[in-house]
Amino acid sequence: MSVGEARPHEAAALHVTGRALYTDDLALRAPGVLHAHPVQAPHAHARITRLDPLPAYAIPGVVRVLTAADVPGANDSGTKHDEPLFPDEVMFHGQSVAWVLGETLEAARLGAAAVDVGYEPLPSLVTIADAVDADSFQGARPTMVRGDVEAGFAASARVFEGVTSFAGQEHFYLETHASFAQVDDDGQVNVSSSTQHPTETQEIVAHVLGLASHQVTVQCVRMGGGFGGKEMQPHGYAAVAALGATLTGRPVRVRLTRQQDMTMSGKRHGFHATWKVGFDDDGRLQALEATLTSDGGWSLDLSEPVLSRALCHVDNAYWIPHVRVAGRIARTHTTSQTAFRGFGGPQGMLVIEDVLGRCAPVLGLAPEELRRRNFYVEGQATPYGQPVRHPERLDRAWQQVLDTGEYAVRRKEIERHNAGDPHRKRGLAITPVKFGISFNFTSFNQAGALVHVYKDGSVLINHGGTEMGQGLHTKMLQVAATALGLPIERVRLAPTRTDKVPNTSATAASSGADLNGAAVKDACAQILARIVPVRARLGTDAPWEDVVRAAYLDRIQLWAAGFYRTEGLSWDATTMTGTPFKYFAYGVAAAEVEVDGFTGAYEVRRVDIVHDVGDSLSPLVDLGQIEGGFVQGVGWLTLEDLRWDDSEGPHRGRLATQSASTYKLPSLSELPADLRVALLERATEDGVVYGSKAVGEPPLMLAFSVREALRDAVGAFGTPGTSVELASPATPEAVWWAIESVRR
């Protein structure tokens, strides 16, 4: 039995030997490939008054300059028709206004520097506050309402108001955006792209080139990380490569440098939230009123569904009888913010966790008690009206972390330590995660697969999902092997291509294994059903190879297209109500930190996690997703620091932390000294492939435990009962200022 077996990543041996090929590795193997370099605008907002490519052609090795005049189809790289591929108005610092193709990357770079562009700078909005002041918003402005918040506040014993604002996050997939395009003899445009959404990349390439979808094939061999950053953002780069290949007849590669990637591609949305919350005498939430404003950047991209998910997760794990939460998307002159692991969920949840973390001391309750007291129980529904199924799983996970993490014992040890050390204080916190699984937009919850059984009995599978390191292909191999009852060695998987499985949804929303796994399983089931008579004839002990051979001779179709759609979903985006999620994934983490009072520097001493993945399809893969998501979340909340120049100086709107030396993501030094992860037991999820649950995004939010533990430790420098405000990211400097504010 393969499903449930702990297996290494299916490409692990290729990874470790350097033989795994990524998009740009393919490009370097193409003779005569041209290299592309963008012309990036040095203004946050400007009108382009002149764009003269001629000087670039004086650079030896420059082959072609691509401008708006070259576009045969639509000059647009998005799905909302608000992202011109070659703009006439610069909307953010670093936006590409033209691309240069060269025989070498150096020639293309020098050519790009030589393109003569005139700019007329225009006033710019760099921060959410700028946009709010200028009333600059874009897209829908949804409000989620349940009950009567005014009545809720009137019935509350304590009411608090506050502001919570927090930064976005750069994806920093190790592989930057990459595309590679070739045109074949018949004009078929073949694009390899590091994309989570091959179908949409195909559609954008087609509409830029003025072609039908069947004239464009997009392949994704694998990605060197995606995290949502390659859900909608790769399309423009693929279109540039395809346009270049079409115009020159030569293969074209686009691979962004890290700085280009960081200054051009979208990020996790930073948010600003104002809130008012009411509690009864026992600390039970009565009402929440909030306005969430996200920084969408210059264009809409995925900002609307990100905001929807933020609103749908502002409750996290807590029953709040009366809710009114409004959302809006600021339009600023920065990169167009996009999907990032959690997709707004983390931002919504951060608001309520910040509220509880700040209010607990004032309510005179331990934060863990305040949180626990407000958990959903069976029979309650979310503010958007979806019943919360299996809330007892959260209780179990919570109790398991308290027990195996020796929470009470360590709380006492920490109190003892803190009493004896004036300079270093420890903190401890436990936080829950409840995360809805499925695309909010119901139509996206479908998937296809193609399973071939060859005459020798070997099996090749294709599915619509993409591999970005999350182990989807590993799981799909396990699903196919299990469904067919074969050793996994008999099954191979071919790269994701739009000419194999069409009309796919993005590999996103943690749904890759749920959707594609069910589609693979469906295809396998079709084939097995067709060979039932052969098996009946040959006997149940007949070897698979004999059965397949006999089935072929009987003229039985030995391949099948599988399909799946998630049933029972509904969502009304205008009323913000429905049942958008198939189920909820749960998790609990407890973190212990130690903070240095001289500097604000800290270390994470221990983390205990219990996470619900249903019946794990692939435990080693799931463990990797939990740990990796957690550490990535810790990076967002404590370390990673997007700084935009919001001065009125000449670099206004420029991303100041635009490279690995200035934007620090977690390194080995951020790994908790002691990290213990367990999968929740007795967690079968009915109606999902082999009882499993999605795992990609939910663990990121386990990192709230670290932020809350830092808050706890900071509080230990002050007098008990003091509310601690902590900036996000909680860098050492931010922690130090928080300590200073409680020490006074």
Binding site: T17, G628, P666, L668
Partner: protein, 469 residues
Amino acid sequence: MSTDPAAGPGAAVTVNGAARALVGAQPPVTALDWLRGIGFTGAKEGCAEGECGACAVLLARPSLDGSSDTPTEWTAVNACLVPAAALAGQEVVTAEGLGTPDALHPVQHELAVRGGSQCGYCTPGFVCSMAAEFYRPGREAFDHHALSGNLCRCTGYRPIVEAAEALGAPAVGDPLASRTTTPPPSAPPHSVPGWVRPAGLDEALALLGEPGAVAVAGATDLGVEANLRGSRPRLLVAVDRLEELRTTSVDDGVVEIGAALSLSEVERRLAGRIPLLDEVFPQFASRLIRNGATIGGNLGTGSPIGDLPPALLALDAELVLVGPAGERTVPLTTFFTGYRRSVRQPGELIARIRVPLPLATTTAFHKIAKRRFDDISSVAAAFALDLADGVVVRAAIGLGGVAATPVRATAAEQALLGAAWTPEGIAPAVRALATAGTPIDDHRASAAYRAAMLGQSLPRLLAESAVTR
């Protein structure tokens, strides 16, 4: 690509055991570009500035501690920073050369089976960094700092660390282990347009006297300038293998350190002789960078936020400069003249760093940064104090990140001399230190935080020295 007309004898590289012609290797082509161009695409470009380690490869280098038992050491470096031309005559091993999917190297095996790779893009670099540590002579435990220059965005590092800790010793007959017992490849004179490895110091100095010539050793700074900012010096003069710049000596009065020794070599050769530097080394960038970056380069580049200058200032170090007219000795306190400027003349090189003995007995290096491994200081302070009967009798404090150059905190030093080593006694020095220099606001830290950290540093030293006592 046409054959390089300047490629003379020695223009070959051994890659994964096979000789390859070093063609098309003039700047700005990096070792990474060149390797990927000939099909070794395992090494990746993740950042092009030596921060992520996805490009790490192994080079056969002279043993870092100068050992004669194992004269060669597999040293992991960032291929994105090394000029391709510097590979002339060298031996390179990439992840492809360590093992195959059917015959994994022990490092590869441990990473693969433990879930140490997810997307796999950083993995070849981790493999090389880990292999260098695997082959480190005399290794007892796995030093986690060997992986401090590699970033992984997927795993959260736990399985990578476990893979490292599961490693045993190289098997008997392991070819790369055997290679360490024979002499390393020499660095023969070689030149391509824009890059030259001179035959000796005299030729180097002559070349450096020409306009537009720049000395290069590990290229950990110049490589970043080239990759990220398009810097294209007219001529790079490789000085990293000049034997005159690669000696160390200790006598009764002074420790001398050759300027062209890498930080890793300095660390291993001093072997704990200067405790203050031992505090700096693990906080100085990453192992991958320390394997390339030289002590002379860190001083010569003149950055106000370099990690070594504050420590060497506190150690009262002197620099020996060598030029066409011979040698001269300059105290480090007068070496820096402005932002990335110094008294070093064109055509001069830093030859040696001299640290006078005896060393102060209470020393500490306080580096303030966002991340614990591999980050750049927002502010750094190095202390070298002597105490007698609870009174400070010698005080030297070096600061980084508070002015256009690294500086000594002279007012605080004066206030400390003769002061009691107590909170009350150091109070005047704390006040002096808190107002030292002119810290700036930038993306690393606010000016207020930088100033506050200066103010905290002496009380912290007092508290921490009390704990150690």
